[in-house]
Symmetry: C3
């Protein structure tokens, strides 16, 4: 199991380095990321290089038995490069140019700067980017006529007569062309991916065989990680849930499940997280005792084979000096963060058997970046329908019920899942529509929410009645959208006599074969369907015409799970998360107590518990607040 953090020795005098290695060994650290922000040290002026200090650092780490994840150092270009190439600085949509003095001050399309990729500046509106955007569009559309068709330029007289007239969606008097905006998001993701690829090509030539990765940032909207993940040898992630958010444990799980899904089930690495506080929120809550460990072991539970932090030693100076680290500003022996980091190192050292094992899921949530981008462009019936809100409204119930779930693209083969959930899929390709239809027809169970199946990849409405590609699948037609104002709630009556509410959105649905599971009660939509179920081929498709309250949603998903034959990983007291990793070498049941109270949980008597190294002596086990047990299950022997 990999363990460690970002290590920036260049920010410290050399005398500290020996102490660093000594303490790393004490904490069980076996991997550190080096030279992430060292360009200006390694190349202090154009063409003048200084690798001597880095050689000394690497030798020292090597002697200490600590492996190195060597960074390319391109995330922050040095001032001398900016001075020579001021045109490499990025430009915002309103023409404002961003400057050096922080990091990531580069235009991804800049020829002078074509090495790296970013989180602060995921797009650039400068003239260089405009030319690159045009080239990208020519690749996508071939002719200007085809671009005119795709962008719908007859609307508002936007027809282009020449490629040179095309520009990025700079600031306009009113709403810009949505397809232009959508293509610019596609282009910007690709432009950064091209930076990564340029680095990758260099590395493959100079260090063949060394695996290459770049940190993802969980649900990061600007980059289509499905495309990116195909270019990574191993998926790695940064995640910083807010401990002050009561949902942070759930969000942490969600991020990990996304990473495992991007890695297509293979193990991944948690590359960055904080031991305690971050520095960039208005108020940066500290993690209470045990939470760092809990979340790290949750990452392992959900498929990580390595757990690292930003960063090893807390900075003295600069914009991140108030970001916690494994080693604090003060004496380590007085620091909870350090003591917990050391203990965690000892825990992780016991988990090598877990490495390489997989998490199996019977449920998939469909999630596409392109649909996310299109859904959240302006000028919709409601601007309040957000992709991640929809996604979490489904995920919450799987998390609470200990049901393992993967994320999947709309075009992925879904045959191996018993249940497929579609919280929202506003934009989709014909291929995706056929895929989802075929999945149900072949016997699958699917749950879909409103405003799905609406536009094609050009963001053109699919005509003929909403949701055009799913009307047969769902057995209904949607005749009108009635978005709801903030605070507006509709009453919903279920066929089984229970009642609930819907908010955010409602629709005028006319069944065309579907069975009504619930209907709106009162108002303009009185007695119209709110939730339906339709038999299609050998399978079943549910449809939700509103956002249900949480209890109703839980009941509905439980019904769909039962219908699909989905079983939870484990059943125990609320607040205890259960995840299973599986391999030919063993089955590992992770039980994670998110509550602040001691909890008694049922276990198989005689199981080996990895963290304590003990065998369970009865059919229950006590988990302390934020405590974790990892049970080797009897049937899991290789």
């Amino acid at each position: 199991m990999l363990y460690g953090g970002d290590y920036n020795p260049d920010q410290w005098p050399e005398v500290v380095w020996e102490e660093d290695v000594r303490l790393m060994r004490e904490a069980g650290v076996n991997l550190v990321s080096v030279a992430i922000f060292s360009w200006s040290r390694l190349e202090p002026a154009q063409g003048r290089y200084d690798f001597a200090w880095l050689d000394r650092v690497l030798d020292l780490l090597h002697r200490g038995g600590i492996a190195v994840d060597l960074a390319t150092g391109t995330a922050s270009p040095p001032p001398w490069l900016v001075r020579r190439h001021p045109e490499m600085l990025p430009v915002l949509a309103d023409g404002v140019r961003l400057h050096q003095g922080a990091r990531q001050h580069y235009c991804p399309s800049s020829p002078a700067y074509r090495d790296e990729y970013g989180c602060h500046v995921p797009a650039c509106w400068c003239d260089v980017s405009a030319a690159d955007f045009r080239a990208w569009l020519q690749g996508r559309y071939g002719t200007i006529e085809e671009l005119n068709r795709a962008w719908g330029t007859d609307f508002w007289s936007q027809r282009y007569s020449d490629w040179e007239e095309v520009i990025p969606p700079r600031r306009t008097p009113t709403w810009p062309n949505p397809t232009q905006s959508l293509d610019f998001q596609r282009f910007s993701s690709d432009a950064l991916l091209e930076c990564y690829e340029a680095e990758r090509r260099e590395l493959l030539e100079h260090t063949p065989g060394v695996p290459i990765t770049t940190n993802f940032m969980s649900f990061f909207k600007p980059l289509d990680y499905w495309k990116w993940a195909e270019h990574e040898d191993i998926v790695s992630n940064d995640a910083y849930p807010d401990p002050a958010d009561p949902d942070s444990g759930l969000i942490a799980a969600l991020n990990s499940d996304l990473m495992r899904s991007l890695a297509r089930g293979r193990p991944w690495i948690q590359m960055e997280q904080t031991t305690n506080r971050v520095n960039w929120r208005p108020v940066n809550a500290a993690k209470p005792p045990g939470l760092m460990r809990l979340w790290c072991l949750q990452q392992v539970a959900r498929g990580a084979d390595g757990v690292l932090f930003f960063q090893w030693r807390q900075s003295r100076a600069g914009a991140e000096k108030w970001h916690s680290a494994m080693l604090p500003h003060g004496a380590p022996e007085h620091s909870h963060a350090w003591l917990e980091a050391k203990a965690l190192g000892a825990d992780l050292a016991k988990l090598d058997a877990v490495c390489g094992s997989r998490v199996g899921a019977e449920v998939a949530i469909v999630f596409d970046w392109e649909s996310w981008w299109a859904l959240e462009l302006p000028s919709k019936p409601s601007g309040e329908v957000r992709q991640l809100d929809q996604l979490r409204a489904y995920y919450r119930h799987l998390f609470d019920g200990n049901v393992a779930v993967d994320f999947a693209r709309s075009t992925d083969d879904l045959a191996r899942y018993r249940l497929v959930l579609v919280p929202n899929l506003y934009l989709l390709s014909d291929q995706a529509a056929a895929n989802l239809n075929a999945y149900v027809e072949a016997g699958g169970t699917l749950v879909m929410s409103f405003f799905s199946g609406i536009v094609d990849p050009d963001d053109h409405v699919r005509l003929g009645g909403y949701p055009a590609p799913f009307r047969e699948l769902l057995g209904l037609r949607v005749e009108d959208f009635l978005p709801l104002s903030a605070g507006q709630e509709l009453s919903v009556a279920f066929a089984d006599g229970t009642r609930g509410t819907g908010d955010l959105w409602s629709e005028l649905v006319t069944p065309d074969g579907a069975e009504e599971l619930a209907s709106f009660d009162g108002g303009v939509l009185a007695a119209r369907p709110a939730v339906t179920r339709n038999r299609f081929g050998k399978g079943t498709a549910y449809y939700l015409a509103t956002r249900l309250d949480s209890a109703s949603m839980a009941r509905l998903l439980a019904e769909a799970q039962a219908e699909a034959g989905v079983r939870p990983t484990w059943t125990g007291p609320a607040g205890v998360e259960a995840v299973r990793r599986d391999s030919p070498r063993g089955r590992f049941l992770f039980l994670l107590n998110h509550s602040e109270a001691e909890v008694e949980v049922p276990v198989a008597e005689g199981s080996d518990e990895l963290l304590s190294g003990k065998r369970t002596a009865s059919s229950s086990l006590t988990l302390p607040p934020r405590g974790v047990a990892i049970l080797v299950e009897p049937g899991g022997a290789p």
Copy 2:
């Protein structure tokens, strides 16, 4: 009665056009607006024209008996023009340039673009506009010395020694010169009007006899529609009240009354509105069944002789594809919007007799754009006094009481009105002051609220004690302004023993002849006048030194109406609006039920009801929820 909508056939394949005309005929459409955004189609490159498709569209419509309102198509310049003339793009006060990709991306003063006028970019701060602004100022002031006087440039050392030093009010370190800002608003309205005039001159030459209009946008602050209306052959309007706003019915009425007033009583056209939802609010509420019809008939009631929508067929692509239309994305036969549009067409076909009739009003509300602009410039005793809030606080009670009301300029002849209301008139000319004084002196009744009569057209304070031009008229002096914080309320005691409250504003008033109708109760202003009445010449002037609560305001206006001899159009149950149109050919009483309940209303037995085609058989009539009746009154025969 005109009926139809915007028609953008260039956004659809030609095969759809035949179907369009067939459905237009089915819906009773007799007028469509064509080619609003077709410049890039009609002139795809500089000097290359293509009118063939437009000819085919016009022929098709003509054969279908559908008239055409042909647009100049200048609202959205094509990309090739922008590429040739990048200097035509508009610039904001902070120097940010706006780009193509939406619409209306032009500087109104651009010589390369001097054809059109706008809503998204009502002003431009670029260098070309600066030169045009200087020319406009030279026209207004003649000498730089006179500009220095008017702008008060001795304040903060802003004295100009040369015209070339003068610029638009670009972003400044702190509050800009208010007269400069005010003149820039005047100039910007005129610069756009000059664009319109340039088009008008062309049209008068090429299509003499064809009436010319440009859509107004209800209470649109940047353009002085009093000036604009003088240049239109027929007044037309766009209006989009929010169905989720409980005041939307009132606001819809207000917009229509403004249009009728701008048209100086002549019929006008509702040129754009939505059948159901718009797309540009955060949440775009749908219209419940019947509301579209109710508001359309309200427009007719308040003087419209035509009712059109944006747009005929809902777009598939582009920024407005989620704006509802007469024809939906899905099958028309399943669309409520289409079914209601068809029914409305049938209704309107019965109202030709109404065309040309007039609405008579005994009450006028004084409303000037220039005073609105000046009032809402920064640096006032309170920035919370807003022109439209003040206006609505008066209008509400006239609307609720079915009292017909016109809007009037402060310099208009007011003799034909029994009652004149002045919600706020911060800025006014000497001529306006004399006009209002003369109106009361000759026997008129006037009600005026605080902070009126304060500055002259240069935004210079009228010295000698507030409100200088009205001190005799009102019989008082205002010694100090005491604006109130949000939530701060003062108690107000009326002479008749009733009590109320005031908020937003209070004043230290000393009567000088006026009678106290109410006084403040407690606090610094204890026992000082809150509402006064003064006999002046043969008339009466009321003054309000605070913003009264709604009930007190209703009582006060009822008293003033009684004093002036103003009678309501009709008296019936609350929630039912009544408006009368009158002509030599007949008198038409519109009764519009805004409530969601069925309502019994009194009618003259034996009246013809136009929509049902029936004669009333008793002295009452049942209006369904959102139902409308149009009664031909016995006395209205020609």
Copy 3:
């Protein structure tokens, strides 16, 4: 006692000037500030001067016996200068250039404009400023290597290889380098001070012996007034507390105490304030009767020897025409502001004996601009800890308890104070740390709140455990910061059995010699210290690990005062403020009733009361609402 206001005769026709002087005499005015915004009048074009009108004004005032505070007039450059030197216009961090049309439109580093200093534009990011910033940095650091060390440029690869690469902190993709930001604040304060110094050098040459000042603006963050005050012959201030703020009386006192402290105890002048309303808040509340007088006499009580207003005569035009003045728009005889100004003149004329006397304080609050700047840079454990909030949380209890207090720099000699308060001192020099330690060691009493002693002047964390320079002094170490969310409160139990709450911030404190006065109760910090006391040398140091509720804070400060032997100036009913000024010529006890009720206060029988001119006949005196008494105390005879 000086009395008067800003006088802008150039905004009025010459006929008004005679009347001005007559009314000034009537009001007892003896000093006016002239020509503040007269540059464009005095030099209407480059090199063309017109002093004739100013000569006439000065002669007229001289004949009326009114002294003149002659302004340099450089606060608002004339348009012709801008036209000749457009590069003198200031530029914001995002590249937006600010224009003429208001005032203070200049870059402080502009060679074309190097005369003046500002409030609206305290910094400029243009290229000229960049060069000046580099020169300033070379002065501070000598070598680029030293700058790299101080700015911690190894973080995020920001290392500079050449001075020319260094720029101001322009808009960056994410948080800029904090030391760069801090140095830019230092530089900007110094750049404006250099403008002032350039003017001062000219004046010392041309008008030697005439005292020079420039208005401070109370707690104005951009300028380090400690440094500025050393360059002023007399300290003067502008202050505009909001009458609608219930704390405004306290804030007014705070501002005055700061001025007296900046003047190092010498008398100062209140140069600007409003008689009634300002014009630049969203809602500009009027002062109730008596409040203007109360605050003016409060300024005198707290050390002012002069009281002036902005401005003499209210403007007719321009951005400040709604700012109240001594003379109103209307007839003076009907204006409360004028009548009160006249009465105040009469009052002040009785206070010449007070001039030159001093306020003695036994308590000091440590307050440094540099620490303020550093504390409020982004990227902290909590962004909600604000310097002035912390300061007021202490000051409130001294104000309420009539305890005189000075402000002091952290490096000042503190020996003469019995009690030193440190609400927050995030950044401090080694010298300051030694100074505070020495103060307590020698017997002083000190109270310090959390997050003090954290960084050095480079904004580098002081390593070795927080708060490194005060761990011995306080007898504890802070092991972790646990900032609290908005609304989050911790329970605090005091050793004496009382209970309170803490919010905003908490810390994990481990005592190392200190005594626990209170501890947190429940939660992660249960039983950990919240308030401690430590004996150090001959003195005592208190430490607060959270922000206490107001009642707990009052008790704690009362205890510290008792410990230190601090006595209140006077004890009487709540709402009555008491301040004493002292001189060889007399002791003057000011009693100021802030309440809206009449109050009975204890006095020494037989004292002379200056305002009434009467001797007190009993041991109590009645103060009307907002009334003031100034008692000459028996012991104060020279």
